[in-house]
Each structure stands twice: as C-alpha cells, then as structure tokens.
C-alpha cells in the first residue's frame, strides 16, 4: 500500500567516536564500512513495498540524521545525498536538513551540501565551555566554534544549534553563558536537551558506580526554567518541549513527527511511520546490510498502532508541542471526542495546574511542562 507521506529521514551511522552520553545508532572508527552502507542505502531506497514509485511524491521535508551525516568524506557525502535525490522529488521550498559535528565541517563539504539542495544545518554545539565539552567527550573546543559557526552560516544561514544542560558539574551561570552565546551566534533555531543517563551508555555505567553525579533535580529545573525565560525574550518562540525558533524557522521535519504525520525512513536503526505502523530497522550496520543484500526486510521491530494507541500517541506528542492538541483535529483523526476519550484525566490535570483546556484544545501549562512525562503518562 503506498502512502502520501511527504517526509523522509535518512540515518547515517558514522561517527569519529562515541560520546559517553550517546545511545544513538552509530558506528565509530569504521569508515571502511561507508561504501557498504551506501550500497545498503541504495537497496533500501528501493526495497519497501509501501514506498511510492520513484518520482511520484514530492518530499516536503528531508532530514539526514546520525550518527554524523557529515562524517564521510566529500565524495561519499555527495554520493549519499545524490542517492536520495535520485529516489525522491523535492517539493518547492522543501526543507532539507543535515545534522553536523562542528569539526567535520570543511568548506568543501559545506559546498557539497548546498550543491545537493541542503538548506538547513543542525550543529552539535552542546556547550560553549571547554570543561563541559570535555566532560561530554566532544572533540571540539569553544575556540573551534567561534571559527566554524560563521563559516557554516556563510553557506547555510539557516543554522540550528543543539545545547545540553544538566551536564555533571555544570553551573547555572555557565549554562546562562552558553545560552547567551547561542542567541548571539545568529542561529535561527536552538534545541536544548536536558542530559539523560540512557541505559547502556558509559555515562550510565559511571553514574551507577558513583563516578558521575547527575545534576540535582532543583538545579536542572532552574536550568530549564532559564531556557524558557531567556530564549523567548531573545525572540525565539518555544514550539516544543526542547525546541525554540525564530519566526518562520521551526524545523518542519520534526513537526511532522509531533503532529503524528507519516514519514519514510532509511538506514540502520531508522524508524518509519506509515499506515499506522511504526517500523524500526535493525540497528547494526552489518546486520541491516546483510538483510538487504539477501533481499530481505531490514525491519527489526514493528509497532502496529491500534486506533486507541494512535489516539493516545497523538495526545502524547501533541502535549509536547506548545500549540497543544486541537480538539477538531483530534476528532477528525481519531473519531473520538477528546473529552469522551480522556475527560476525567483532563479535569484532574487542569485542577493540578498542569493543563489548560479551552474550546480550541488542550495544552501544557508552564508548570506542567516541567513534569510533562508524568502528565502525559496519565493519558497512556
């Protein structure tokens, strides 16, 4: 069954090394696998039976994530981008994003990006302090950033900066400085992520052994509060729990996820959502490739959403957005009236001061945003 999905995600798993906090699908120090990856990608782009025939669908958003999509050399990078461009048409004004590690970016690579239609870059800055960058095991320094950000902007002015707060040892003052530098960098978009200790990461192991102290909850709350105070004051509108944009610069691709819309996906560990089915590929590059080489599906996990689950997921994702859940839209997409579906929970959470409910829809309050997971869990 073909779909009308107009978004696609491509996962590029290569990295220089794995940072201690990262639990993404990636492979470090195996650049020799890039050709194999490209072969696999070429196969997968033509594998999925529900994908549209070539040239039929115009993509409105295309996102290259990782890993580090900019890690392969310029020639491989060009081939990667071209493979996808050969498969899909791009709509007029389509958003084409890539994630990038600062030290991987050269003028040559930046040129390759724009030559292949990339018009938005998301830079893994994480911090403007060397001690914090070392703690995070990033390979760049604050000085590197001062050099790389302006160069990048010359090629790709639509630049997003990723920052992390709650780094062990980070102070509120240091966090404030990083936020200021991000604001003044000229970025059009800022994402701020509270550090989490994901299972299987080196950070989590060190935390368990008592070698890393997570940031106290109250300080973490203050850091998050500071984000929501400073960025809007500087002209960045918050549109999701962790995302802030200057007017007109929201990440349209990510909004596809949060609206509960459909998207294609390719690459090891990538997840697609089509026909109310979320499929996740095998995470191992070689495993993913081996399946495709044998003409078999690279899908490892299928989550078939029942109408009920889909409705709950729409609430889960919708509440993470500042615009919240639109009652009319919810009813149109699920067939349920929001009040009939979850009226008692809504009433309770409104009483607790976590939700605003009005004729148009349902949104988290500022207070609710700090404990969004808890509020959302009530609906699941």
């Amino acid at each position: 069954m073909s779909t009308t999905a107009t978004a696609a995600y491509v996962h590029v798993p290569f990295c220089r090394h794995r940072c201690g906090y990262c639990d993404f699908t990636l492979i470090a120090g195996r650049d020799d696998l890039v050709p194999a990856y490209l072969r696999g990608l070429e196969r997968e782009l033509r594998f999925h039976p529900h994908d549209p025939p070539t040239g039929r669908t115009d993509l409105k958003t295309l996102f290259f994530g990782g890993g580090t999509p900019t890690h392969p050399g310029p020639a491989d990078l060009a081939k990667l981008l071209q493979l996808v461009r050969d498969r899909f048409e791009l709509a007029e004004n389509a958003e084409v994003s890539v994630e990038a590690n600062p030290l991987d970016l050269t003028e040559e690579k930046l040129q390759v990006l724009i030559d292949h239609g990339v018009n938005r870059i998301s830079l893994g800055v994480q911090s403007f302090h060397d001690d914090e960058l070392r703690q995070l095991e990033r390979d760049h320094t604050a000085v590197d950033l001062q050099r790389i950000i302006p160069v990048t902007q010359r090629f790709l002015p639509n630049l997003s900066v990723d920052l992390i707060f709650g780094i062990p040892g980070q102070t509120l003052a240091a966090w404030e400085q990083s936020l200021k530098q991000a604001i003044h960098s000229g970025a059009t978009h800022i994402s701020t992520y509270g550090l989490t200790f994901e299972s299987g990461t080196a950070f989590e192991t060190r935390r368990r052994r008592g070698q890393l102290q997570p940031t106290p909850e109250d300080l973490e709350r203050e850091m998050y509060a500071l984000v929501m105070e400073m960025l809007p004051a500087a002209g960045f509108e918050q549109y999701e729990i962790s995302n802030f944009a200057r007017p007109g610069f929201r990440c349209q691709h990510n909004e596809v996820y949060w609206r509960g819309d459909e998207y294609h996906a390719y690459g090891p560990g990538a997840a697609r959502y089509l026909n109310r089915r979320r499929e996740t590929n095998i995470r191992s590059v070689l495993g993913w490739l081996a399946k495709l080489d044998r003409g078999l599906t690279p899908v490892a996990d299928v989550d078939e959403l029942s109408p009920d689950t889909q409705a709950r997921e729409l609430i889960f994702l919708g509440l993470r957005r500042n615009s919240g859940i639109d009652r009319t839209d919810f009813q149109r997409r699920t067939g349920w009236n929001l009040e009939d579906f979850a009226g008692d929970i809504i009433t309770r959470q409104v009483e607790f001061g976590s939700l605003v409910s009005d004729p148009k829809g349902l949104r988290l309050t500022q207070a609710g945003r700090f404990i969004a997971d808890r509020v959302i869990a009530e609906f699941l």
Partner: protein, 640 residues
C-alpha cells in the same frame, strides 16, 4: 498373621513410587469387604513423629529414614522429600503434617512403621500436637552443636504430655564442631530425658539411621487398638485436591475402615461412602482397608469446602463407636491482617482461593471486610507471623491475585462503658474513646534460651517492649533460659528477628498466650494529604505512640513516590497530630528528545510507568503502593 499381612501389603503397591493407584487394587475386591480377615497385626505397627527445633535437621533425617528403610529407592530419593509445598521448600520448613507408611524388616520380623511429619516453627505448635495424637512415640532431635533450643523444650513437653515414648536423638554428629557431652547434659537437665541410650545420627551422611529404625521398633510401643472394635479413626489433617476433592488423613484407633464402607463423621454429623483409601508411600497408594493402628487417607468424594473437621472422629455409619475420640483444642488465631485484591474484580476469585487455603489449613480463617481505602477484601486470622507470610506467599504463587495486605495486628478486648466486651481484631473497629472503659491486650509467656553473655541486651529489649521479668535459669555454664511476660503485640512482629540478630542466631524463643490484661492503648490514625486512611490505622501503646507515629510517617515517605503535588503525612491520636512528614512534589520529569525513532520507545516507557501505577491503590489523588500498607509496622525511626 504378620506374614500374611505383609504379603497382602507387598502384593499391593508397597515400594512402588507413584502418584496414582494401580490396577492391582481393583483385583483385591473379589472378597466381600465385611468378611475380610484382619490384615495387619497391630503388634507389628509403630507410629512415630520427629520433633525438633527448626533447622535441627528433621527433614534430612526423615529422607534418610525413607531411603534406608527401602521406602524409596536411591533414584527416587529427593531432597526434602516430605516438604512438598513449594513455599516450604523455599523456607526449609515443614508446615503441613504428612504421613508416610514404611515397611521394614528387623531380625526376620516385618513391621509397618508410620512416620507422621510435624512442623518445627513456634507458629505451628498446634499442628505438632495434632500430629502427636496420632503416634505412640517420638524422636526428639537435637542438633549436636546447637543443643537444646526453645522449641526443643516446647515440642518435647508436648510429646511427653501426649504420653508418647520420647527417644532422644543427637543429630548432625559429623559436624566439624560438636558439643555432644554438653548437649546430652542439656537433654537430661532441661528436658528431663534419660540419655543412657541416646541415638547419634547424621541425616546428611546417614550415620545411625538404622539404629533409629531399631529404636523405633524396640522402644516405641505398638498401638493398643483392636481390629474387632467399632471403627474409631482420628482425622489429623485434610487436604483439598482439585480432582479428587477432600483427602482426609486418618489414624485408625479402633476397628477397621474399608473401601465402600459407609462412614460417619461424629462431630460433623455427616455420612459418606469411602470411595478410596490408602497410604502415603510416600505418594498416595490405594489399598482395600486400614485397620487399628494404621495411618492413611480416605477419599469420600467430599466437595463441600470446610465439611471435614480436623480432630473429628470417623466411625461406621451403622455400628457407631460409643463416643468420639478427644479432639484438639481449636487453634488460637493471634495475628490478623486485611487482604484486599488490587483489582476489585478479583474479589470472588480471592474468596475461592482463601477457601481452598482454609481447607488445607484449619488454623487459618477469613471473613469479608471492607475498607474505605481498599474497598472489598477479607480479614484473615493466623497463628503467627510466619503463618501469615506463608499463606500470603502461597496466595501469590498459586492464586495469581495481586494483593494488598494491611499491617498485621493481634486481637484486643475492649470493655465498653455499657459493659459490653468487644473482641477487636481490626483497628477500624475500635469505638470512640468516650465509650471505652478498658482496653485489653493479649499477654504471652515467653521462654528465651540464649548465650549467657546476651542476657543484658535481651533484658533491655524485653523492657523496651513492656515486658515483665519472671525468672532466669542457667542451663549450663554458657546458656541461660529467661522467662518473661510480654504483650503479644510486642513480640509477634519482629521479636524473633531481634533475638536472632542480638544473639547472632544462637538465641531461640517460644511463647504461649496466657490471657488478656488492661493497658493504656490508643488507636493511631494516619492521614495522607489530610485524609484518614483507615487501612493504615494501628493500635499502639500511648507511651510509644509518638515514636511509632514518627517511624510510620518516615517509612511512608520512603514508600510513597513523589507526585505532582506535595503530600503531607500525619500520625494522629484523635484530633491531635503527633508526627508529620511531607513528600515534596516532583520538580522535573520530562523527556528532552522525542523524534521519529524515539516515539514508540518513549511511549512504551511511559505506558509501563502507568502500568506500574495500576498495581497501586488510588487514594484520592495519591497512589499508595502495596508495600506502604505494611509501613505501620515500623517501630523505630531508622526505618526498621
């Protein structure tokens, strides 16, 4: 005659280790039942129990007796064979009495030896005595290193009082370190048994087991009953089997019982036909009759739960015995708690499971109960804490019901101002202070046996627990017996654990309830977010209320997780708040990243979080986990 009897038995299924009766039992039905000659000479029957302090090696020795007497083969020899309930295996405690028939030949004479197992823990004293009533003798097992302990004494006296021949046995003689001469002296002085012919055994290696078998035959008297008298059989246990209904354990005292016979339960007043009868060898093996002196089971197709009473007498429906056998004292339930299904729809299912439990365990009772906080459930009565834990664990393993158990309490008596006396086994039933004339609590006489250098700490513990000192008696240079009177409420919950920890495991205790006494008792309420939670109310001594209140609030703070809002916790006597704690609100709980690849995983994580909450009890807006209902047991502020 004896040889004839044995032939019949071997012609049956003796030594065949299996669960179901074989076809040979059918062939035996050719002769009319009522004209069968007496089959087993009572002179060649011996019925015995083993009594011991817990962990003195009873089950291991029992297994050896079965192995070395040929009742089971090496291949069939399993660890802890007699402890066939899973819970008991886990705990290493024999809870339910079981009977095993063994055929054994000594000096050319063939004997039938019935071994009736007994539980070892203080909570099950009642079951010990009903097992002893089916025997003529008992082996008193004493650990070669640990020596005489509190339950050694209690169980030995129970056996002596039941007029049993008691044979002292020193077990675990092959331990690297033993104190055999001292242990023998303890047996002589504390228990008062002659140790001239003491047996020395090891259940582990099998040393001395043959000597035991010889002593059982030579020293324990044969049963006295006559095969020709009217049937009198003692019901000493019963068990519910899903397929066969009630399995009734009997010891035939007089006469005989046969397949097809119409029998009559003298106390129950009900008549039934014996559909099957047999012996445990050690699994059920059917036969055609059981005669005076023998031990076995009967199955009468009884399906109605609770219609077989342990302690009842079975007689022939037409030729009834002139009188019933002396039964047992009704067991005294001293510990009560509430058990509520987490999911209200499990109520009926829980009732059925409790009914099954109570059939297998006459000393357990239950009655429907309701709580504002927990809804519909049951108030359950137990002999003691271990008994309670075992029932709870069995319910969890066998019944597949999520349970909330409230903190246990003892039974109190309240004399109201109008003279009415209430038995209160639920704090919710305590009337208004104004209408209470006297509040009484049960008092127990407690015997401690402990190393003499621990007298100080145990006396201190007993004083803290409002104990009254009675006597000290030295059992040897290093061991002493202390006797106290203590409120039962102060000992049932954790006294045993405290004693074990203070004495590094060497102290033991035994207690019996001696009556009720007035005390300055009050009902302490617990308020969660300003609301009384009835299931958390507890009866405490006024002088301890504040300490307990602080401990309970502190423990609840640990057990109840943080919510979106602040939760005040208070302990109160009437309107007066005596302790408080506050559970602070969650400050930050939000997933930062949620992109295409994260959605399913994060959603499932949050779903799981929500699923965990379903197992909690919603009280107002506060979710209280199952464990929190036991928090009121906390007695000290360090969270013990």
């Amino acid at each position: 005659m004896a040889i004839l009897g044995f032939r019949r038995a071997t012609g049956g299924a003796i030594g065949v280790f299996r669960a179901r009766p074989g076809p040979e039992t059918v062939n035996r039905r050719r002769l009319p039942a009522r004209t069968l000659p007496p089959m087993f000479d009572t002179r060649n029957i011996r019925n015995f129990s083993i009594v011991a302090h817990i962990d003195h090696g009873k089950s291991t020795l029992a297994d050896q007796l079965l192995l070395q007497s040929g009742a089971i083969s090496e291949r069939e020899f399993k660890e802890q064979l007699l402890d066939d309930l899973k819970v008991e295996r886990e705990r290493g405690i024999t809870v339910k009495a079981r009977a095993v028939a063994i055929n054994y030949e000594l000096d050319g004479q063939k004997y039938e030896i019935n071994f009736i197992d007994t539980p070892g823990h203080v909570d099950f004293h009642y079951e010990v005595s009903r097992s002893l009533a089916a025997c003529e003798g008992a082996l008193l097992l004493v650990d070669a290193f640990q020596g005489v302990q509190a339950q050694t004494v209690a169980n030995a006296y129970a056996a002596i009082n039941a007029d049993l021949e008691v044979i002292p046995v020193v077990n675990k003689v092959d331990l690297p370190v033993t104190r055999i001469p001292e242990v023998l002296e303890e047996i002589e002085t504390v228990v008062g048994l002659d140790t001239t012919n003491v047996l020395k055994t090891s259940g582990k290696s099998g040393i001395g087991v043959k000597d035991c078998l010889r002593a059982i035959i030579e020293r324990i008297p044969a049963p006295k009953g006559s095969v020709d008298s009217p049937l009198q059989a003692l019901v000493f246990d019963s068990k519910y089997d899903t397929y066969r209904g009630v399995i009734t354990y009997i010891r035939v005292m007089e006469g005989r019982v046969q397949k097809g016979q119409k029998i009559y339960f003298m106390k129950g007043g009900t008549a039934h036909e014996v559909l099957e009868l047999g012996q445990f060898r050690p699994n059920m093996v059917s036969c055609d009759d059981l005669s005076a002196g023998q031990v076995g089971y009967i199955i009468c197709g009884i399906k109605e739960l609770g219609s077989v009473h342990v302690g009842d007498t079975v007689t022939d429906y037409l030729h009834r015995a002139p009188q019933a056998l002396p039964g047992y004292e009704v067991p005294q339930q001293m510990v009560f708690c509430g058990m509520y299904p987490v999911d209200a729809t499990d109520f009926e299912h829980l009732r059925e499971e409790l009914q099954k439990m109570s059939l297998n365990d006459a000393s357990f009772s239950f009655a429907p109960d309701t709580s504002d906080a927990l809804g519909f459930g049951f108030r359950c009565g137990f002999l003691g804490m271990l008994h309670m834990e075992i029932i709870q664990q069995r319910l969890e393993q066998e019944a597949d019901v999520d349970l909330i158990q409230t903190a246990p309490n003892v039974t109190y008596q309240i004399v109201k101002t109008d003279g009415e006396i209430l038995q209160v086994d639920n704090p919710q039933e305590v009337p208004d202070v104004g209408s209470i004339d006297e509040f009484r609590e049960p008092i127990a006489k407690v015997h401690f046996i402990l190393p003499s250098d621990k007298i100080g700490p145990i006396m201190q513990l007993s004083a803290d627990r409002r104990g009254t000192y009675l006597t000290t008696e030295y059992l040897g240079p290093n061991r002493v017996q202390l006797v106290y009177e203590l409120p039962l409420a102060e000992i049932v919950f954790d006294m045993y654990d405290k004693l074990k920890s203070i004495t590094q495991g060497y102290g033991t205790m035994n207690y019996e309830v001696i009556g009720f006494r007035p005390a300055d008792l009050v009902k302490m309420d617990i308020l969660v977010k300003g609301e009384k939670v009835d299931a958390l109310a507890v009866i405490v001594h006024r002088t301890q209320a504040e300490r307990r209140g602080r401990a309970v609030c502190k423990k609840l703070k640990e057990e109840i997780s943080r919510h979106q809002f602040e939760i005040p916790l208070q302990a109160a006597l009437g309107a007066r708040v005596i302790a408080r704690e506050t559970i602070s609100a969650v400050r930050k709980d939000v997933t930062a990243k949620c992109y295409g690849g994260d959605i399913s995983r994060k959603r499932k994580l949050l779903e799981k979080q929500k699923e965990g909450k379903k197992r909690m009890k919603q009280f107002g807006a506060v979710e209280i986990p199952q464990k929190a209902f036991l928090a009121v047991l906390s007695t000290s502020e360090d969270g013990d």
